[in-house]
């Protein structure tokens, strides 16, 4: 079953060459999908279009309405046309992990994790940083899952890069997400730490039945972790299939520099 379908997605920033040129992509529920491509191939833009941190120029992003709305179970919703309230409901079911971790360094670890619940909070209550004891309990147990329980009350700036990314994963888990979008989650980490992070990410996704769409910069890690791989080159999908279908010709095509 598809949890997410992208149809003919285009995105251009101004009059320059479009970043995305007609992306068609189906994501199966529960899979760990790897996106591979050079810098500038449109990976980050594609992921940000899915939760509309970037507004797509045209195309459709279809999800089951039940993903964010408890009411109607069968209909599909186009994320592009969600109104502000529905977009908030949708976003809180879609976690996001970033290359730069994007945690607040001045906050304690647990404060960063608790900020993952904001989509479920009223403005006033959360602006006063009033969290319930259930939420704190949830935050601590998510920190335990990523192995950072001992650091819960440390200042986040005292953590290492790999630990910051684990805080970000715990923050995302607070959203109780159905999908996690991860934009080059390990590009700033060394190969050993990269595996630690990807192991954690894959484990929590499997345990909670979360669908993951993860862009990675090395073929090696992608082959190792992804159930399915899509290759992106200059804003277009040029490969879609399991790692075993990748041959040298396609790899060369993905890694080919601009030469139209």
């Amino acid at each position: 079953m598809n949890i997410l379908e992208v149809r003919d997605l285009h995105k251009s920033f101004g009059p320059v060459t479009p970043v995305l040129r007609g992306i068609n992509l189906k994501v199966n529920q529960g899979e760990f999908l790897g996106i591979i491509g050079l810098s500038g191939s449109g990976k980050s833009t594609l992921l940000r279009c899915i939760n509309r941190l970037i507004e797509p120029t045209s195309g459709e992003i279809l999800v089951p309405r039940a993903l964010f709305d408890a009411g109607d179970n069968t209909a599909l919703a186009d994320v592009r046309h969600l109104k502000r309230h529905d977009l908030r409901l949708f976003r809180r079911k879609v976690g996001m992990i970033f290359q730069q971790f994007n945690v607040v360094k001045r906050f304690t670890v647990i404060e960063n994790v608790l900020s993952g619940t904001l989509g479920y909070q009223s403005s006033l209550k959360s602006c006063l940083k009033l969290f319930t004891s259930e939420e704190k309990h949830q935050a601590l147990s998510n920190l335990k899952r990523v192995g950072l329980l001992a650091h819960a009350y440390k200042r986040t700036s005292d953590l290492s890069g790999g630990e910051e990314q684990r805080v970000a994963i715990a923050r995302t888990l607070m959203q109780r997400p159905t999908i996690i979008l991860a934009d080059e989650p390990v590009s700033n980490l060394d190969p050993k730490l990269s595996r630690v992070i990807l192991d954690i990410l894959k484990a929590v996704c499997r345990e909670d039945g979360i669908t993951a769409v993860v862009s990675l910069h090395t073929m090696e890690l992608t082959k190792e972790y992804a159930d399915r791989i899509v290759g992106l080159s200059r804003g277009q999908l040029i490969f879609d299939g399991p790692a075993s279908d990748l041959n040298q010709g396609i790899v060369d095509e993905i890694y080919r520099e601009d030469s139209d």
């Binding site: 941190l53 809180r92 904001l118 959360s126 602006c127 200042r155 970000a168």
Partner: protein, 321 residues
């Protein structure tokens, strides 16, 4: 082979200048601008009547004036007679909020409001109070202004431009002019001065805060938005923690600046130590003036030190909750 490589290395070292793109020349515009700058500076010094020779000649006169200030005359600070303490009220009852008979409490109030601010210590304390109150009020206005006037957090570009325009306009009004305006409106005294400080500081702090907001790491904003957070939550959880150290620094810095500003506002009768200082200088009571200046220096240094400690305490402590 090794020798060959060496020659090649030396050769390429020489040729690297040929290989590199030509260094861009500065062009004639550079020298035109340089000359313009020098002309403007010459014009400025000319207009400022800058005469180094006269300054050198005047050094002995500076020494004479400073000599007249020595030793500073602290008699008005130390002598209890100069405070005109009301009779029949004991010191604790005067200084602490203790219950008093109606008549005495009127006398106490009159002393606090009218007599005490005329003394050096009283006027000094009034200066601090004006600066504290004005800065505190300004913080409340500057806080929303800072977010509305920052390109990345403003709800609408039109609002952004409107607020910037108004802030820039008000900021150009000197606090002395604002002080005169408020003296005319609410009468002589500390209230007028406080209002002047409040208005001016609001626009300065608003401007500084908006620039700080524009320099934040947008990645955190993106991450918080991605959790489904609304506008006020993004401000609280992504923007505010990043600008808080700056906001505290700016506010404490403005507090120090405002103490100096408040002491000048006394010249136009808007409260504070400036009035007494001016009177002493105008009546050639240099030793008394020196005492006032020393009290003021002590005060400003104390505030500098306190704000430095406060800043370290807040900025370096871990998360707030």
């Amino acid at each position: 082979m090794a020798q060959h490589n060496q020659t090649r290395a030396q050769g390429s070292e020489r040729d690297i200048f040929l290989e590199a793109p030509p260094q861009p020349s500065r062009g004639s515009g550079y020298y035109v601008r340089l000359i313009c700058l020098l002309v403007v500076l010459w014009w400025a010094f000319e207009g400022a009547n800058f005469r180094p020779a006269e300054l050198v000649q005047g050094i002995p006169q500076i020494a004479v004036t400073l000599g007249r200030m020595l030793p500073p005359d602290f008699s008005k600070v130390m002598d209890s007679a100069s405070y005109y303490f009301p009779e029949n009220i004991s010191a604790p009852k005067l200084l602490l909020p203790l219950p008093l008979s109606a008549e005495r409490s009127v006398a106490k109030k009159r002393w606090w409001n009218n007599t005490f601010p005329q003394t050096i210590v009283g006027a000094t304390l009034e200066t601090i109070q004006m600066a504290l109150a004005g800065t505190f009020l300004a913080l409340f206005v500057a806080f929303p202004l800072g977010f509305l006037a920052a390109r990345n957090t403003t709800p609408h570009p039109l609002l952004y431009h409107a607020i910037r325009l108004v802030m820039n306009f008000i900021r150009t009004i000197p606090d002395l002019a604002l002080g005169l305006l408020f003296v005319a409106a609410v009468g002589l005294g500390a209230f007028a001065g406080t209002l002047a400080l409040f208005i001016h500081t609001s626009t300065v702090l608003g401007k500084l805060l908006s620039e700080s907001v524009e320099n934040i790491d947008e990645g955190v904003v993106e991450a918080i938005r991605a959790t489904g957070a609304g506008y006020s939550q993004v401000i609280t959880f992504a923007v505010l923690p990043q600008v808080l150290p700056d906001l505290i620094s700016f506010t404490l810095y403005r507090l120090e600046t405002n103490i100096r500003a408040a002491s000048v506002l006394g010249l136009i009768g808007a409260g504070g130590i400036g009035y007494l200082m001016n009177t002493s200088f105008r009546t050639f009571q240099y030793q008394e003036a020196a005492a006032i200046v020393l009290v003021l220096i002590g005060l400003v240094m104390a505030v500098d030190y306190t704000s430095y400690r406060l800043r370290r305490l807040i900025v370096l402590s871990p998360g707030e909750s």
